[in-house]
Amino acid sequence: MINSKYFFKGFKSIKGIDSPALALGASFIAIGALLKNIGFNLEQSIFSTFLTYALPGSLVMAESFIVGASLINIFLAVWLVNARLYPMTVSLMPLLLHKSQPRWKYYLSCHFIAVSAWLIMKSNYQSIEKKHRIDFWIGIGTGTWSIAIISTVIGFLAADYLNKDMMIGLAIVNPVYFGCMMVGAMKNLQISLSIILGAILGPAFFFISPEWSILYGGVLAGTIAYFVGELK
């Protein structure tokens, strides 16, 4: 059903010098501690990472929950901040689709689409034959998702020992890791321009609309980079 050779090859991507384990671990330890502090119990915290597995979405959920936002407002806020997962999925799944593979694999494993697993897959897919890419992907996803769940537990249990400066230290690891991965992904003009313009326009649009800034800035930056790259 799932080719174990490729599954474990993907799973092992959580080791090594470009491992996402530290970054994911730090972020989800922070999430575990945060969820405990806002009144979740251990089971609920595990359930949350298990089912959502997307960091900004969990942060927005926590912030909305504290202020007592309605379910509709939580839905909209989370949907908006996680809408980036749509273009991420559309720019990943066509690389993994293969006629011989059953569809349920794609609909289940899309749950693993998060920045870390996505970036690892994007930088490694060419070394895997197309037929086996989905199994390789499920391996990466299972590995990164497991780290997130285990770290949530650690964070929950360690919450009382983490002071504010330590929480701030944990919170910067994630943007630093992804920032480095993005710099590493700048291999051609189109991608480099997408990344540089996105990093400028995203925060710039914050002054116009904080909620929509990532989508507005990202779509505009990506579109400009696409056309510049095509003209070249």
Partner: protein, 110 residues
Amino acid sequence: MSEMSSNIILVILVTSFATYLSRFLGVVSSEKIDETSKLFKWFNCIAYSILAALIARIVIFPYGVLQDADLWLRLFVVIICVIVYLLSKKNLVYPTVLSAILLALLNNYL
């Protein structure tokens, strides 16, 4: 208490549904998109720029606890760590470990 805890379960379910929705619709759309098409290339650019926008936003206008560290401190730590990443031949362990220690210490002592 039981009302509180069923409320938490609902919040988690709503959050995960709102998150899975974009992933699910992405797979539905992917069935019709060829990896060599222009549409795919365009989505690829948008995916990278949205991620860059998100990361820049987290550093400049953060959610949660990062708001308590000074903007210039956050920018300083990120820039130092990217330089370490490039100097260490793209080792991701050094910059990530360094970033946590550096920001926690600087925020405490400055």
